[in-house]
């Protein structure tokens, strides 16, 4: 990636992964990503020194998204139908595939507040305090949304009672 540092590359690709998981629509995700980066750029150009750039980027992304949701009544969703098929084609295991399909549906079905937290903590690896700052909520809220979200996702993850713990690899 040219002259960009590994660290910054990692931030941006994580940001994109997060946007895609969050809004599901690849067009909107790209727009969010670009707006986020532009906004961060302009802050840096105004001389802001940012302590935690990764969290800052994610916070901007969430702010932009919140603003867009507020402003538009009708958010177009260009759902990519093969989103799931892509990731699952490498899965030889029928059961694993079903599980992932279930998981994807479950994640998409989560209330927005829970989905945000699940993705920030479980997927992107932010600490609770960072996630709280990113979303502008207390840490306690993060904890409860997270545990509730997890309970729901776990329940929906597999069509069967999880008998043995498989390492999905």
């Amino acid at each position: 990636m040219g002259e960009a540092s590994d660290e910054l590359c990692a931030y941006v690709t994580s940001l994109r992964r997060h946007a895609l998981a969050l809004v599901r629509d690849p067009v909107e995700a790209d727009e969010l990503l670009q707006e986020t980066m532009k906004s961060a750029l302009s802050s840096l150009r105004n001389g802001r020194e940012i302590l935690n750039l990764k969290a800052y980027l994610f916070a901007i992304l969430h702010n932009i998204r919140a603003r867009r949701l507020r402003d538009s009544y009708d958010v177009p969703v260009h759902v990519a139908i093969d989103q799931v098929a892509d990731s699952l084609s490498s899965c030889a295991n029928q059961e694993a595939r079903a599980e992932l399909r279930g998981l994807l549906a479950a994640v998409n079905g989560l209330p927005k507040e829970q989905r945000e937290v699940i993705l920030l903590v479980c997927l992107e690896g932010f600490r609770y305090q960072e996630a709280a700052a990113i979303l502008g909520v207390p840490v306690g809220t993060i904890m409860s949304r997270l545990s509730r979200g997890r309970s729901v996702l776990i329940a929906r993850m597999s069509p069967h009672e999880p008998v043995a713990l498989k390492k999905v690899k």
């Binding site: 994109r16 670009q34 840096l44 302590l51 997890r150 776990i154 993850m157 069509p159 999880p162």
Partner: protein, 335 residues
């Protein structure tokens, strides 16, 4: 559609189990939860399911990490990199932010490990006040050598380490003298000094800067005597940290310098510098002639990180964890 099961764990134990999976519990809580899990197979299953869930999420979404960026995204990325480097003074590292965060994590761990007086940081949440500590440039809250009253400047800095200077330190009586370690041989000059606690006159933060604007901070405060003699020396990229205990005082050196430089500074502090700071209680906290300890040979073999042993095992773990996760509160404004 999948048969839905009632979510198995509601608050508060659900929250705690969830936090346990994420490593967000305090040491005490963690032990509690582990005991609970040992007694409750359902809880163990929940924990395992959470881990399974995490793996599933990565399975689903990690492929997005590897797709190439668009043209526009690529150029924005490059611009961001340039901007970020520019803001931090033309270096790709050390980013002040990262080393501030790291230093804050270390000092925080030292506080929680009992090495520094807890009273130093009680006002605001430790993370925030430590960040603030490092963010302030000299001249704001600190007294800048030479910028405030010249007499104070003389009081704070002495060419001759080990000599007491008889001047009026800030707010002190006439007899009180202050001198500071002299690192000029190593290329570092004192640019700021600050009391960390107005009640605790014996706690200070000294800021040194080299010609290329690298900074080293020396903290010291009264420390528990039973913290042992061992020393912590760590390096994380361009930043090194050294913390030790001597003569009833805890010290830490944190900065953009090589570990050899810090070791040398530590030696100067221990061997050449005697401090007697003004204290409200007469003779309560006398500086002592330091041991011949200096830090040479105390350094453990190893590459980038070494850890001390005495009584700060969990502090080191906290530090490592904090460093791994960069778990520092974010400073944000409304966007």
């Amino acid at each position: 559609m999948a048969r839905q099961q009632t979510p198995r764990f509601e608050t508060p134990i659900g929250d705690k189990l969830s936090a346990y999976v994420d490593g967000e519990l305090s040491e005490a809580e963690r032990l509690e939860v582990e005991a609970y899990i040992a007694e409750n197979p359902d809880a163990a299953r929940f924990v395992a399911d959470c881990q399974r869930l995490d793996r599933g999420l990565h399975e689903l979404f990690d492929r997005h990490l590897h797709r190439p960026l668009s043209q526009e995204q690529e150029s924005l990325l490059l611009e961001l990199e340039r901007e970020r480097t520019r803001v931090s003074g033309g270096r790709a590292w050390p980013r002040r932010a990262r080393w501030m965060a790291m230093a804050a994590a270390v000092v925080l761990a030292l506080v929680s490990g009992g090495w520094l007086a807890a009273g130093l940081f009680t006002q605001t949440p430790p993370g925030q006040s430590l960040i603030a500590l490092f963010e302030e440039a000299p001249g704001q809250e600190e007294r800048s050598v030479g910028e405030s009253a010249p007499e104070a400047a003389v009081a704070l800095y002495s060419e001759d380490p080990g000599t007491q200077v008889d001047t009026a330190a800030d707010g002190g009586g006439g007899e009180d003298g202050v001198n500071v370690p002299d690192f000029s041989d190593l290329g570092f000059t004192l640019i700021g000094a600050r009391m960390l606690d107005s009640d605790e006159r014996d706690s200070m933060q000294l800021t040194y800067q080299s010609e290329d604007k690298s900074r080293v901070e020396l903290f010291f405060a009264p420390g528990a005597d039973d913290a042992g003699q061992s020393m912590t020396l760590m390096e994380e990229g361009p930043v090194a940290v050294m913390a030790w205990h001597n003569g009833g005082r805890s010290y830490s050196l944190i900065g953009e310098a090589e570990r050899e430089t810090l070791l040398e500074m530590g030696r100067i502090v221990n061997q050449e510098w005697t401090v007697e700071l003004p204290s409200p209680d007469d003779g309560a906290d006398q500086g002592q002639v330091p041991d011949q300890r200096g830090g040479d040979g105390e350094e453990e073999a190893g590459d980038d990180r070494t850890e001390s042993e005495a009584g700060s095992g969990s502090a080191s773990d906290d530090v490592e964890a904090a460093l791994e996760n960069g778990a520092i509160p974010v400073t944000l404004t409304e966007d």
